[in-house]
């Protein structure tokens, strides 16, 4: 073992521009692929078990969460607008749109809370009541867990924005977080279709 380090150098410097994709985005896309596999398994279980419960309550007791869905889906739009505002260095607009996104996400979570309260205390459906309860709470709960993690991320960014720490150069990181939020919304489209439209 010599005390020197040998440095390999190419015989000729490559002329063309050498640019590689953002590692944050690659990582987030990878995480989304992995998470999609988890959701696929839960969705498959839900679909397979539709109508297989041996006793009630049945999915007919569900009410379609229209307001929740509108809030969550429009939050995807507002977060996209806030990304654009940050790109153009309009910090006030960015902060406002970001706070709006957070509020819309929070409305969704609170709405889910009310829905579950109604199901548990008035309609008598818990995770252990029957097969429908098991699949319903685990699928919707898995999604709600992802919303919670998203809201934690959104809140962190909002706090930093209010402290004036978020600058234009953080654009890429914000976009990575936004990517996750878009994924959470896209999953809701699938969950909503399966649980409230096909399964009811």
């Amino acid at each position: 073992m010599s005390a020197t380090t040998l440095i390999p150098r190419g015989p000729v410097t490559t002329e063309e521009q050498w640019s590689l994709p953002s590692r944050g985005k690659i990582a987030m896309y990878s995480l989304i692929i992995g998470e999609s596999a988890i959701f696929t398994i839960f969705v498959v279980a839900y679909v397979f078990y539709i109508g297989k419960s041996l006793y009630g309550p049945t999915p007919q007791i569900l009410e379609v969460p229209v307001l929740n869905t509108i809030c969550l889906l429009s939050s995807s739009f507002t977060i996209w607008l806030s990304e654009r505002a940050l790109e153009r260095n309009k910090m006030k607009l960015f902060g406002a749109l970001w706070a709006l996104t957070l509020a819309l996400g929070a409305v969704f979570l609170v709405g889910t809370g009310f829905e579950w309260y109604d199901l548990i205390y008035h309609k008598g459906l818990t995770i252990s009541t029957n097969l429908f309860g098991t699949t319903f709470y685990s699928l919707v709960g898995l999604h709600a867990t992802h919303v919670v993690f998203g809201l934690i991320g959104l809140t962190t960014v909002l706090i930093f924005t209010l402290m004036g720490k978020v600058k234009e150069e953080h654009c890429e990181r914000i976009q990575v977080l936004a990517l996750y939020w878009h994924f959470v919304d896209a999953v809701w489209v699938v969950v909503f279709t399966v649980v409230y439209i096909l399964g009811r």
């Binding site: 380090t5 190419g10 490559t14 590689l20 692929i33 098991t134």
Partner: protein, 563 residues
């Protein structure tokens, strides 16, 4: 050694002056808090070697128990725990961490990167994996532990419902299994994400994807496969935990749930997992065979395509583990055909390795010996796999020792052999010293003999109808002589493995000093010192071909003229 002759310009003395020897506490702190990919890689590898020995000891206990009919070497429930833990250990605590370790150590060096894309995520993933494994083994002593080996899981490594429900598994064995593998599964996901980000975003200048060494290619594909492989298991284990703790009914047949769904979910993970385990073997073969045949790899693009092809096909073969469940004939036919399709890309790989060796100037050092044996044993393992993929044949042999022989041919004959070769190949890079060739040759020949004595014989005892996972057998079945031979082979393998462990430790102090490039190899990890400095390369390397070190050593005839 060979590095003195390297015509590498820009040699630079950047090694800092040797500081005073760190205290023990400083040394421990350094390793525990490290985010360096090389140290984390070594920790993964040490972790996997420890569990290789632990899982091997469990296998030895199983073999002693089965050596004679009506034996009582261990109690029946202890025996169940031993084979469950043997399978789980070898898959989750040995096979996968070894891949993570080797990939962590070698891949960033090979692509000329400073570190992984996310060093702290890397450390986080390692510690999750490590604590997952420790938690699983804590089941031996946790709760009301140890006598009859405590709460260790005892329901085989695939954990079929309804045996895992509270009624049939009242202890905490199933919980230890589910929770510890959810924890290590998150670590695995972290590793896969990190690897993909590193490969796509951290390659040095000039290293296009099609100039990347095949080792790194295989690691990349394995990581992509892990993303969609380990997550279904995590999902299924969450369901299992909901069933056991929250009174859910996913796999509860009395409430409309289905035990077969668990089988599907488990094998959707379980079969691609087999390919995740065999990928490190491919990766090592891709490096060792060309270097020791003194030829560039034959058919590089075909090798890349075959690797991606195997990963793709492996997602659609899971139910060949379930031919005896009673699926429709259409499903059976589908899974027969898809399983046989795997033979095409793997065949391409075998032919390419053979074509690499063909006409080469082969040096039979220890790594090459292991990889040559790997090639032939992998072929036989694949052929018995094709045999078992035929549904009617599988109905006859399902859950027999023929199946055990088949997949141990793959896991030991292919993977452990290639992994051993990989140790002899990269050990000098990581430690600066060569492993002993003498002990290495003893290790190889003893292991080869022991392996064939055990697993060739196991095929026959399986054909004679001996089922797997049985505690004992009556004397009049005619399995006794074969079982004695199998166990003797097991002892020979155990001796070889102990020699290997001895070699690893002995060579650390007494091994010949290796130099930077002891094998006269061609990929970037051999361009830096052994062991590499923390920063890997003082100047970011630039490459123009798949074999950058060949270009440097042979400026009159560089590879980039032909690629």
């Amino acid at each position: 050694m060979a590095d003195h002759t390297l015509p590498i310009g820009g040699t630079l003395d950047v090694t800092p002056e040797r500081l005073s020897r760190p205290t023990f506490l400083e040394w421990v702190t350094d390793w525990v808090t490290t985010v360096d990919h090389k140290k984390l890689g070594l920790m993964y590898i040490i972790y996997s070697v420890v569990f290789l020995l632990v899982g091997g000891a469990e296998a030895m206990a199983i073999r002693i128990q089965l050596m004679f009919p009506n034996s009582h070497f261990v109690a029946p429930d202890t025996y169940n725990r031993l084979f469950t833990m043997h399978g789980t250990t070898m898959v989750f605590l040995m096979g996968m961490p070894f891949l993570f370790g080797l990939a962590n150590y070698v891949m960033p060096l090979q692509i000329g990167a400073r570190d992984m894309a996310f060093p702290r995520l890397n450390a986080f993933s390692f510690w999750l994996t490590a604590f997952g494994g420790l938690m699983l083994y804590y089941s031996f002593i946790g709760g009301s532990g140890l006598y009859g080996v405590g709460n260790a899981p005892d329901v085989t490594w695939w954990f079929y419902a309804p045996l895992t429900s509270r009624a049939f598994s009242p202890g905490h064995g199933v919980d230890y299994w589910a929770l510890s593998l959810i924890v290590s599964g998150i670590g695995t996901l972290g590793f896969a994400i990190n690897t993909l980000a590193t490969v796509f975003s951290m390659r040095c200048k000039g290293m296009t994807l099609l100039r990347m060494p095949l080792f790194s290619w295989v690691v990349t594909v394995a990581s992509g496969l892990l993303l969609i492989t380990i997550t279904p298991l995590t999902a299924a284990q969450i369901m299992l935990t909901i069933d056991r703790y929250l009174g859910g009914h996913f796999f509860d047949t009395q409430a409309g749930g289905s035990a077969v769904v668990w089988m599907h979910f488990f094998w959707i993970f379980g079969h691609p997992e087999v390919y995740v385990l065999v990928f490190p073997a491919f990766a090592i073969a891709n490096e060792v065979i060309p270097v020791f045949s003194r030829k560039a790899i034959f058919g590089y693009p075909a090798m890349v395509a075959a690797t991606v092809g195997i990963a793709f096909i492996s997602m659609g073969v899971w139910a060949h583990h379930m031919f005896t469940v009673g699926m429709t004939s259409v499903s059976n036919t589908f899974f027969v055909l898809s399983t046989e399709l795997v033979g095409v890309p793997t065949g391409i790989k075998i032919f390419n390795w053979l074509a690499t060796m063909w006409g080469g100037k082969i040096r039979f050092k220890t790594p090459m010996l292991f990889l040559t044996a790997f090639l032939f044993q992998f072929l036989i393992a694949g052929l018995t796999g094709i045999i078992l993929s035929i549904a009617p044949f599988d109905w006859q042999l399902h859950n027999s020792y023929f199946v055990i022989a088949h997949f141990h041919y793959m896991l030991v004959g292919a993977i452990i052999f290639a992994v051993s070769g990989g140790f002899y190949y990269w050990y000098p890079k990581a430690t600066g010293r060569m492993m002993s060739e003498t002990i290495g040759k003893w290790h190889f020949w003893l292991f080869l003999i022991g392996f064939h004595v055990t697993f060739d014989t196991m095929h026959f005892v399986g054909l004679e109808g001996m089922p797997r996972s049985i505690y004992s057998y009556p004397a009049d079945r005619g399995w006794q002589h074969l079982n004695v031979i199998i166990s003797i082979g097991g002892f020979i393998q155990a001796i070889a493995m102990l020699l290997f462990a001895y070699n690893l430790i002995w060579s650390l102090r007494k091994g010949e000093v290796a130099g930077n490039d002891p094998w006269d190899a061609w990929t970037l990890e051999w361009a830096t010192s052994s062991p590499p400095p923390v920063y890997n390369f003082a100047v970011e390397p630039e490459v123009r071909s798949r074999r950058p070190l060949w270009d440097l050593k042979h400026p009159e005839d560089p590879d980039w003229k032909y690629e």
